[in-house]
């Protein structure tokens, strides 16, 4: 929550709140309560990845060598840049610079989409390399190492779940950008940008943890 709002920028009080400050506080607390549940969901997946590594080190390393390390690294850069553009959108919203805010939000959505395109290419490369053990119709490259299936399947579950969150985030962001481009938005709903920004940074945070845990430490 920021107190550094320009004149004419703010939040319209809903009738069930006593003050605007209380409303902003409740919204921030609410999104954090939800983000904690999301954190626990992803943390459990990352913990299973570590356990698979402890139980089957050779099979996990063999499977991890097939992951596209450099695409994962570039995708991390893409999401870190998108976090910067989201932070810029928040600051522009606080300043009341609506057009700049809308452009920063569009840049954020574009970077999120670029991440998904690169991820899609990575999945396609995995498909051509027969690294999808859950496809019964195709042979599996590491069939001689049954334990590697555990890690590869977990990789798909974790990255697809993250991708789903990102896709949802992009859809919400585009919808909010459309609303935020209308006159008067920042005088009534500026805190929407801040609350949404927390979700976007959280998606970035999850990938910042996923990349090393899945791609880097198992090399």
């Amino acid at each position: 929550m920021s107190a550094r709002l320009a004149d004419g920028v703010g939040t319209e009080r809903a009738h069930h709140f006593e003050t605007v400050a209380q409303q902003r506080y409740a919204a921030t607390l609410g999104i954090w309560a939800w983000l904690i549940t999301e954190l626990l969901l992803f943390a459990a997946l990352f913990l299973v990845a570590l356990i698979v590594r402890i139980q089957h080190p050779e099979a996990t390393q063999e499977a991890a060598r097939h992951l596209k390390f450099w695409i994962g690294a570039v995708n991390t850069v893409v999401l870190i840049v998108s976090s910067l553009t989201m932070s810029m959108a928040i600051e522009f919203s606080r300043l009341g610079w609506q057009r700049a805010m809308v452009r920063a939000m569009l840049a954020t959505a574009a970077l999120g989409s670029l991440f998904l395109v690169l991820k899609g290419y990575e999945y396609y490369a995995d498909y051509t390399e027969h690294m999808m053990p859950f496809l019964g119709s195709r042979p599996y490259e590491l069939a001689a190492s049954p334990a590697s299936r555990l890690f590869v399947n977990l990789y798909y579950v974790a990255t697809l779940l993250h991708g789903l969150h990102l896709l949802t985030g992009i859809s919400l962001l585009l919808g909010m950008t459309w609303m935020a481009s209308k006159a008067g938005f920042l005088s009534r709903h500026q805190n929407w940008i801040e609350i949404y920004g927390l979700y976007w940074h959280f998606i970035d945070l999850i990938w910042i943890m996923a990349f090393p845990i899945l791609y880097v430490v198992n090399r």
């Binding site: 607390l29 850069v77 610079w97 910042i208």
Partner: protein, 103 residues
């Protein structure tokens, strides 16, 4: 509403610089830490390098939480909520790994 990006005055420029200082610094810190992790992952300079990689990840997570998500500037209850999430994760990871590593 103002849309001054096309014609920034000196005051606007100073305001913009002050407001974007933290986001840009956190961006540079994250890119630097990522560069460290990618270099470690690509070169594997020693056997237990994964411990250092996880320390770098923890530093990146702290930067996102404290600076990008502005937890440092939140009221105490929000700070407690954000901290609780990681505390629960620490309990889950700690107790599970104690079991697996202690067998």
């Amino acid at each position: 509403m103002r849309n001054p990006l096309a014609t920034l005055s000196d005051d606007d420029r100073a305001l913009l610089k002050a407001r974007l200082r933290k986001p840009v610094l956190s961006f540079l810190a994250l890119m630097g830490l990522l560069a460290v992790n990618v270099t470690l992952g690509a070169t594997l300079p020693f056997e237990q390098v994964w411990t250092l990689e996880l320390v770098v990840v923890a530093a990146m997570a702290l930067v996102v939480l404290l600076v990008s998500m502005e937890v440092l500037h939140e009221p105490p209850l929000v700070k407690l909520f954000s901290g609780l999430g990681f505390f629960w994760v620490a309990i889950m990871v700690g107790m599970t790994l104690t079991d697996y590593l202690g067998r």
